[in-house]
Subunit: 242 residues, 2 copies
């Protein structure tokens, strides 16, 4: 772990990068304890606050965790699927909200990826996944549900569908695509009729998943995508006219 004294980059950035490289290369392994802040500041010939800023950068990416007290210190963190999942959702959400991504673009990406999961889900889903999907469909039919709650349930339904593929890597990759859409979906108001159509499609998809019918599941998702885009287009058109 070395830093370049001639570099113009901030010291804390360089130090963070040096440690990060050591982790990625395997020089530092999971759960290994890093040298103490005092030792690091000695090693890199910088002050303790500078080392600390570097460590905070790494902590923000869940690459390390710190523990106080004797035998405490900074430890290389095992990046859990959960951590990666939430990072992915945050990044995707901000990306969509800050870059004027059109509804259609985001929607297309989301459903294209989701259709990739459907065949696997149709084959492997557990009873639990199916039960979750049915429960969410039921919830979506409840009268008096707010639009936000309806979207929440929609996400939960799709998440169960994705998780049904029993591939954690796939679930993690899809997290951003599905959940980051929610703020966009929340801009839409759903009429009772819209909800009925969507819930009907959800049922068709759940039926296909239950029957292990891969292509029916994919078709159901395709129809749902078309429906969602049509709905959004209507809402935006109406809003533009006003």
């Amino acid at each position: 772990m070395k830093i370049d004294p001639n570099s113009s980059a901030d010291l804390s950035v360089q130090i963070a990068q040096a440690i990060k490289d050591a982790i990625i290369s395997g020089e530092l392994i999971v759960d290994e304890r890093l040298p103490s802040e005092a030792e690091l500041s000695d090693h890199f010939q910088v002050s303790r606050p500078t080392v600390r800023e570097a460590l905070k950068r790494l902590a923000a990416q869940s690459l390390i965790r710190t523990q106080r007290g004797a035998s405490g210190g900074a430890f290389v963190n095992r990046l859990s699927f959960e951590d990666a999942y939430s990072q992915q959702v945050t990044t995707s959400t901000l990306l969509l909200s800050m870059n004027e991504v059109s509804f259609d673009t985001a929607c297309e990406a989301r459903y294209a990826l989701e259709r990739a999961c459907a065949p696997l889900s149709a084959e492997r889903r557990s009873a639990d996944h199916l039960a979750t999907m049915r429960a969410e469909i039921f919830r979506q039919g409840q009268p008096g549900l707010t639009d936000v709650a309806f979207c929440d349930s929609d996400v939960a339904f799709h998440r169960a569908l994705v998780d049904g593929a029993c591939n954690p890597v796939l679930s993690y990759q899809l997290a951003g695509a599905v959940e980051a859409m929610q703020p966009l979906m929340n801009m839409i108001t759903f009429t009772a009729r819209d909800r009925a159509v969507i819930t009907g499609l959800h049922t068709r998809i759940a039926d296909a998943i239950e029957a292990g019918d891969r292509s029916a599941a994919v078709c159901g998702l395709q129809d749902l995508e078309n429906e969602t885009r049509k709905l959004a287009a209507d809402v935006f058109a109406a809003r533009a006219k006003r």
Copy 2:
């Protein structure tokens, strides 16, 4: 922007979260300047180093950027697709390397997602995308290519395929799936015969994309997945016997 004085969480964590929330909620908009470190330490009633640690956490996630000098300061950063892309690759790579994800699981996820891109790519790819694919296929046929260079070219080929869908959200989502596989692929040694088979499949896929034949492209990817998994299985079996 407020912090809870009764919370047991570290102050810098709380402050980072408060600012992050302000950004997500839209209270702070893109390119807006945050208060200076002195003002923030005053506002939150903490010292400047503590504020700085909080800001470094946010900088590590590309949520803010800082600039020195008069009229400098911390600014809300527009999260670019590029930034998100590289974050995504880092996270995915670490996730795979730290969690004993099987080659098959990662491979399945990758090709499932890539097949989702193929139909779109077959319709929308520009001449550029196609040219890149052809160029990489040519490179893959060069004798004397190292295994690492072969894998590099493989990634470039698939990236062009994905980018051909002309959906930046899709490209971003796929980044992790495709590039994070590279370290796993690098564990495999490719014989000349293996390379010929892979390159042949790449050609089939490129041909399908060029012809706008959606289903042929998907089939080609399916065959490539099967081939890759068979190859990996052979390598691992041979390694286990030794």
